[in-house]
Every structure is written in C-alpha cells, then in structure tokens.
C-alpha cells in the first residue's frame, strides 16, 4: 500500500525531478534582436522574456513533446515544437512583422486625410463647425482643402476642374440625390445634411474605390454615428431660426430626432441684401436616426430626413432695370436610408443597405410653372473578407432613378420631359498587402445602364509605398456618371460622361502634423455637348437643343497641404494651396475654354485657437482665389473676360460659459471685400449694339450668425461640442 502510494506521488510530482534548460534567441527578419518578446510553453506557466540581446533562458519541469510559443508586440507569433528530456534545448526564432493598422501603409491617393484619429476621416463634425467661414456647412469646410475651387456664388463643391454635379454625396455608402438645399440663382446654397448627425466626413478628390460609382470627380462619404450615446436634449437658438433635438440611449442602441426651423426673414430685414426677396428662404426640417446593435456583431442603422423649403424673389432684367419677373421655388425633400452590417465567421463581413430619396420642386417664373419630381432607389450589398495580407471586397447595387418635369405656360400649354434610368452595377476589389511598406488595391466596376442599354467596365488601381516616415501613393481609375438631369431629361439617349484620373501623392503624418503634396491629371471624354453652340440655357426652362456626347476636356494640377495642431499650444491650423489648369469643350462652348467655375490658384489658411482662460475658441479663415473666366459678348472671343481675384477673411468665436452651453458667433468677409464672381449679360444688344451687363456679387457683403446651443442631460459634463 505504502509503495503504491509512493509510486502515485512519484507519478504526480515526478516531473519535477527531471528539469530541462531552454535557451535561445529571438530576432526579426533582418537579424536584429527583439527585446521583451514573450516565450512560453503552451498550457504551462513556464517561460521567460528576452533581454536586450533577444536572448532568453528558462528552466522547465515539463517532459516530452511540447509547443514553444514566441510572441512580441507588432510581430506575428510563432510556434516551435520542442522535446523536453532533461537535455538543454536551444531555439532560434525569427519573427515576421505583423501588419497592423498602426504601422501599415494605407492607400491615400485622392482620399483626403487631414487628421490622424481615423485615417479614413477627413473631418469630424467639430472640425466643420469650428471652421470660420464654413458656417457649419460640410461643403464650406471642405472648400478650405486642396483640390477644391472657390465658386462663391454657388456654395458648392467643385473638385479639380469638375463642376458641382461631379461630386457625389453618399450616406453610409448609399447615394444621395440633390445634395444641396434650394437657393436663388447666384446665391450660395447649403448642403442638406448637417455635419452634426454624422461621426465623420471622408472626402475623396479622385481615384476612389470601385464601390463608388456615378461620381465623375469626387466622392463625399458621410458616416452616420454608430457609437452608443447618452440620453440628452439639445436646444439651439439661432439668429436664423431654432432647433431642438433629443437622443434616447439604451444598452444596445439609441434613437435621435431633430426638428429645425429656419427663417431668414428677420435677418434679411436687418441686413441689406442684393437679392430682391419677396419671401426670404423659409425651411422646416425633421431628421431622425436609429441605431441598434444585435449581439456584438450586427449593427442596424436608419437615417432619415424630411425637408420643406420655399422662397420667392424678383428677377430683374439686365437691359431694363424696371422690368422684373417673380420667381417662386418650393421644394419637398425626403431621404431615408436603412443599413445593416454584420460580422460573419471566417473573417467575412456584410454591409447591406437600401435608400429612397424623393425631391419635388414646384417653381413659377412669371407665367411659366414647372413641376419637377425626382426619385431614386438605391439597393446595395457588399461583402468583405479580411485575411492578414488580403482584403477582398465585392458586391452589387441597383440605382433606379425616375424623373419627370412638366412645364405649363398659359400660351404654350404643357410640355413634359422625363426619364427612367435603372443602373445595375457590380464591383470587385482586392487590397493586397505585400509588406507593411507596400500595398496595392486593384478593382473593377461594371455597370449596365437600362436607359441607354450601355454596359461598361471601369478599372481602378491604387498603390502605396512607404518612403522614409511618409508614403508615396499612385492611383489610376476610370469613372463615369450619367449626364446632369437638365440634359438627360431633354435627350434620353445621352450616355454617361467619362473621366480618367491619374494621381501621384506624397503624405507624411507625424504626431499631429500632416504634410501632403499631390499632382494629378484628369481626362474627360463623352461630355454632353450641343451640336450647335449657343448660350447656357436657364435650368428652369425646358430645353429643345440637339445634344450628343462629343465633348471632352482635361484638368491637371498640383496641390499642397499642411496641418499642424502640435507646435503651438491650443492651436490647430492648416494651409492649402491648389494649382489648376483645365479646359473643356462641352455644352454650349464653341471651342475649348477654361470653364467659368475654374480658377488657377486657390489658397486657404484656417486657424483655430482655444484660450482656456476665456473658455473660448477663436477661429479665422482666409481664402484667396485667382481670377475666373466669364463670357463678355461685347468683345471678340469666348469666355475671354476675367473677374478680379477673390478674397475672404472670416472669423468665429465659440464661448463655453458652462459645461452645458455654447455661444457661437461668426462673421464672413470681415474686411468687406466686394467679390465679383462673374457677369451676366442681356440676351439682346441695345440700340447702340452693346449687350448690357451686370456683375454677379455676394448677396450681402457679410453674413453674420449668432447661435446659442444648450444641452440638457443627466451627465453634466456633456455639451453640444462633441456633436457639433
């Protein structure tokens, strides 16, 4: 009995009698020692760390075949079988570097990154709200970045020689119709989507992923929030209206709703306007968002927006100052977007979404009435598989647009123009990481247009390589987009316009400083062109002009960007410069010319300074743009006139008197510069044979804005800043 027990004890603890020495060395692929690596025998406590020479030694009482696991931060772990028999074991391990988000090169050509927080995000909503001159408008803030041209009378985004239609807005990957609020002719419009509902804005000036179609020059992707929030109520009192929002949060999700009322009448009454308003812009908007998590892998999001807007004004004839025509515009806009994303086993993930969008205009210009109805349905599914060195993305979508416009005139009766355009598309793309220093993305997008029965295949390619601390990126892509509604409704057989982008960029991001330099060349083909050159027709009127796709053009340029929020305490500033050389022969152009929206040089400085003592942030933005062309019918040539240079110095002040209140004041054009954006001329010459002209000016020299934002929540530390 005793012997047996002894044997049992011996079996239990016998291993302790024979110990094995394990020693070895851990290096990287270049033979450099890796200090601090963890060495362990799997399933046991036995092991050690490497010293500064990458060497380790430890003793184990385990016996027989074992697995030695070697791991270190930013390296792929390795396993080696070892036999423990009491005889010393020597192990030499070479670890491969793990490619992590932190050290890996990322594709950046065209996709703009101004901060270092999330590499895909250009701006957070706070960046947009605190940029002076932007008045919390997404396009306004993005217009301080390189690649954009200031076209002050529109307030829209014009990217690298492209017109405003060539920038497409996407919300959670779903396309948006008609992304700007209605505005009077030659007055700036604002984006329909306020930055506050979104966690980030990513802005691509070219070479974007095969996932994005129907965008010729630029993709503006807005990501709605998916982080859980706290229950709170926000109230905003503005000089141009008021808004109230409520967010209700629960464990796995939240819902937010916002009602906003904007009325420019009191403001316009106070500050003299160039525009002869009958009813200044008035709009009511309701927007809502719901987020619900399912397990820890699934996320359902809804975002919706309903807006009613209207205004009316007198349009004054150029030749005869007493002649004026009333113009009234009413717009009803609805946008709904439902998306679901889920992480599946085996490193797959799926994103699906459906969006539905309607925009209805009722316009009256004197006796001509226009009823315009546009709808867009977008259904999309994208699948993604991630392995350590390859990410594959593939999917399909349907973008179905329906459009109808009817004009009624007392004398001429009713005229209708319409189209129904279903576009089906499939895309496939692979990001291949060759090493942490070199990554390539190759993709292709196929589209079939059910209106013109055209099929097309567009390749996209991006490469990125680390170069010292920074990285070099190269991108090529072919992009296409259906012609603007105004032309397509008049001629349903016009097929998509085409652009090819080539770009080369260098980017260096270190500790809150970003430097970026980029050159590009862009070729336009198949642009819509009138078969007989004429003048630009009004967007309100029906068009009966022969058109085809024989237009073309090019744009090339160089851009520089510098952002620094480290050197000076509490200061964040950025400087952008863009050079643009572009010509196109399209629409009514009789010859290739620099389009009226293009300026060769654009320069911006944005400066933000927070003064903790005053609890106040001061912001200043200075924008400069060189001359833009306009057509002067009194002189020979085409688009031969040049406007004066554009200059604007805007400022804003945000004051936080308590943790739940912000007072915000902003003023554009502090120096009162009289910017001229171009000239319009009478369609017929006067008795002396001269075409009377009129300058297109700012509707008012300055725009002043005052807002008080109050947050009510259980948690007193919260104010509207995070969402602003």
């Amino acid at each position: 009995m005793v012997t047996r027990l002894t044997i049992f004890w011996f079996l239990l603890s016998g291993t302790a009698l024979a110990q094995t020495n394990l020693r070895g060395r851990v290096t990287d692929a270049q033979g450099n020692p890796i200090p601090g690596a963890n060495i362990l025998l799997r399933g046991t406590y036995d092991g050690s760390s490497t010293d500064n020479n990458g060497a380790f030694v430890f003793v184990s009482s385990e016996k027989g075949p074992q697995i030695l696991v070697i791991s270190a931060i930013s390296f792929k772990p390795e396993e080696q079988p070892v036999e423990l028999s009491g005889k010393e074991v020597f192990v030499s391990a070479v670890l491969k570097e793990a490619v992590t988000e932190l050290n890996a090169v990322v594709i950046t050509a065209g996709s703009f990154t101004a901060g270092d927080e999330d590499r895909r995000t250009t701006f957070k909503s706070l960046d947009i709200a605190s940029t002076a001159g932007a008045t919390a408008d997404i396009a306004g803030a993005l217009n301080t970045l390189p690649g954009t041209q200031k076209v002050g009378e529109t307030g829209r985004l014009f990217v690298r020689g492209g017109d405003d239609n060539e920038t497409r807005t996407f919300i959670d990957g779903m396309v948006v119709l008609d992304a700007y609020s209605p505005s009077a002719p030659n007055t700036p419009s604002r984006g329909r989507f306020l930055p506050f509902m979104f966690k980030g804005t990513s802005f691509s000036t070219g070479g974007y992923s095969a996932e994005y179609g129907q965008a010729l020059s630029s993709a503006l992707a807005l990501d709605s929030k998916d982080e859980d929030e706290t229950t709170r109520t926000d109230v905003g009192l503005l000089s141009v209206g008021a808004d109230v929002a409520h967010t209700q949060a629960w464990t796995k999700g939240s819902a937010a709703a916002k009602v906003q009322y904007t009325n420019l009448r009191p403001y316009m009454g106070l500050i003299n306007q160039q525009v002869d308003w009958i009813t200044p812009p008035l709009s009511t908007e309701v927007s809502g968002a719901v987020r619900q998590r399912f397990g820890d892998k699934g996320l359902l999001k809804f975002y919706g927006n309903a807006n009613e807007a209207n205004f009316s004004l007198y349009q004054h004839a150029i030749a005869d100052p007493t002649g004026k025509l009333p113009l009234e515009v009413t717009n009803r806009y609805r946008y709904g977007n439902l998306s679901y994303q889920v992480v599946l086993p085996r490193d797959w993930s799926v994103r699906t979404g459906v969006s539905y969008n309607t925009s209805a205009y009722d316009n009256t210009l004197a006796t001509l009435a226009q009823r315009e109805r546009g709808t867009a349905l977008h259904v999309k599914a994208a699948f993604e598989k991630t392995t350590s060195s390859v990410v594959i993305r593939t999917g399909g979508e349907l973008i179905d647009r329906d459009y109808r416009s009817a004009w009624t005139d007392e004398q001429q009766g009713t005229l209708t123009q319409s189209f129904h355009e279903p576009i089906t598309a499939a895309f496939g793309e692979a990001d291949i990481t060759f090493s942490k220093n070199f990554v390539a993305r190759a993709g292709v997008r196929g589209e079939y247009n059910g209106l013109t029965h055209n099929a097309a295949l567009d390749p996209r390619l991006s490469l990125a390589r680390k170069l010292g601390q920074g990285q070099l990126s190269l991108a090529y892509g072919r992009f296409r987009q259906s012609p603007q509604t105004q032309w397509l409704r008049a001629n349903n057989q016009l097929h998509a316009e085409k652009a090819e982008h080539w770009m080369l960029s260098y980017q260096l991001i270190t500790n809150s400083r970003t430097f970026r330099a980029e050159v590009y060349y862009k070729r336009y083909d198949d642009l819509v062109r009138f078969t007989v050159p004429g003048t630009l027709p009004s967007a309100f009127q029906p068009l009966n002009i022969a058109m085809d796709n024989s237009g073309n053009g090019y744009a090339r340029g160089a851009e520089l960007f510098w952002r620094d929020n480290r050197t000076f305490r509490n200061v964040d500033y950025w400087i952008s410069y863009s050079y643009l050389d572009t010509r196109r022969e399209y629409l009514y152009y009789p010859t290739a010319a620099v389009p009226s929206f293009a300026s060769a040089h654009n320069f911006s400085v944005v400066y933000k300074h927070f003064v903790p003592k005053l609890k106040t942030q001061f912001g200043v933005t200075w924008s400069l743009a060189s001359a833009r062309p306009y057509h002067d019918p009194n002189r020979p040539g085409f688009l031969q006139g040049r406007t004066p240079n554009y200059s604007d110095l805007s400022a804003n002040v945000s004051y936080l008197p308590t943790s739940w209140m912000i007072v915000h004041f902003s003023c554009t054009n502090l120096l009162g510069y009289d910017n001229i954006f171009g000239y319009t001329y009478a369609t017929t010459p006067d008795a002396q044979g001269v075409y009377a002209g009129r300058a297109i000016r700012q509707p008012a020299t300055r725009f002043l804005f005052l807002g008080i934002f109050i947050t009510l929540s259980k948690n007193k530390g919260i104010n509207q800043l995070p969402s602003l």
Partner: protein
Amino acid sequence: MKTKATILLLLMALTVRAGDEVFLQAMGKQIGAVYTAQTVDELQGVVNALDRIGQAEKGRWEPLYYGAFGCLMMATREKDAQKKDGYLDQALERVNRGLEISQDNSELLALEGFVHMLRVSVDPGSRGQRFSGMSMKAFNKAIKADPNNPRALSLMAQMQYGTAQFFGSSTSEPCGMAKKALSLFDAVKNDDALAPRWGKEMTESMVKKCNP
C-alpha cells in the same frame, strides 16, 4: 478497497487545491511585481509573465486585468505618442478579453475608463471630447456594477474634477466622490488575495487637492 478510493479522492482534491495554490502563488508574485516595477522593460517582463499565466488559465480574468494594468503603467512611462497609443491598445485588448470572461466586472470596467482617460492625455485638443465621453461611460458602468469600487469612484472623481476646474464650476461633487473613495479603501475588506488594491495614494493626493 474503500480506503484506497478515499485516498485517491483525497489526493485528487489535494492536487486540484494544489493547482489553485500554484495559480494563486504565481499571480501573487506577479501582482507584487506589477505594483513595484519601475521601467518599461521591467513592466514588459511582468506583463509577459501574466500573459503566460493567462494562456494556461483561460477561464480567469485576473491575469488579463493585471496584464492590462501593466500595459497602462507602460503607457504612463512612455513619451512617444504612437508608442503610448500602442500600449493603450494592448491594455484595452486585455480588458476586452477579460470582460468576455467576467461580464460587468467593475474592476475591468474601471480599467477601461482609465485607458480612455489616458488616451485624452495623448492629444487633449483633438481627443478630449470623444475619449472623455467614453471614459465617463465606462466609469459609470463600473460604479453601477459595484457602487463601492474605490478605484472606479476615484478615477471618475478625477475626470469630473478636471471638467469642473475647466469650467470654473463647483468641485464639491467630485471632491465628495474622492472622499468616499478614500474611506472605501480602508473600509472594504476583501478576502480575495487577487483583488486589486491599488489607487489609494492617487486618491489621497486627489483629496489633498480638494482641501489645500
């Protein structure tokens, strides 16, 4: 025969106890080390040892907790922003794995809030808003899970104190919270040898700030 079976059972029970004893002993040694380690290299060695214990004891949250704590201490000693973020990523990864084993664990949640709090310090200007919200949320959860967790209360008090100072508002609420935390350090007796015990000094200096 019956005796043999009894002895065998007794032996088995003994070995199980012994296994537990080995774990407690190994943990005790590393917990002592993580509190006293000074340099990043020393801390890395302790974190490695805790990782070794963790991979052998997959059902225990303590190795992950102290591993995360070690990573946090490494982050506080690191100047380079990118490396600091790297250590904080390491800490958060361990906290999240720990929360998978022990859901709503007040100590792990408090540590999560601490990670976010340190994120703010890397770049207060651009990160303050986002990460201070995240850390407050984690502290709230930690206090909800255990209203008497002195570390959760003390860290939360520090966050609130900073906010109150910034806006020049009253610091009475965070100061009260810090005092409560300090009394809990002395009052709460925990039999668990592995229970976290750090944070008293930090709370004492906080209370001192409140009553200069």
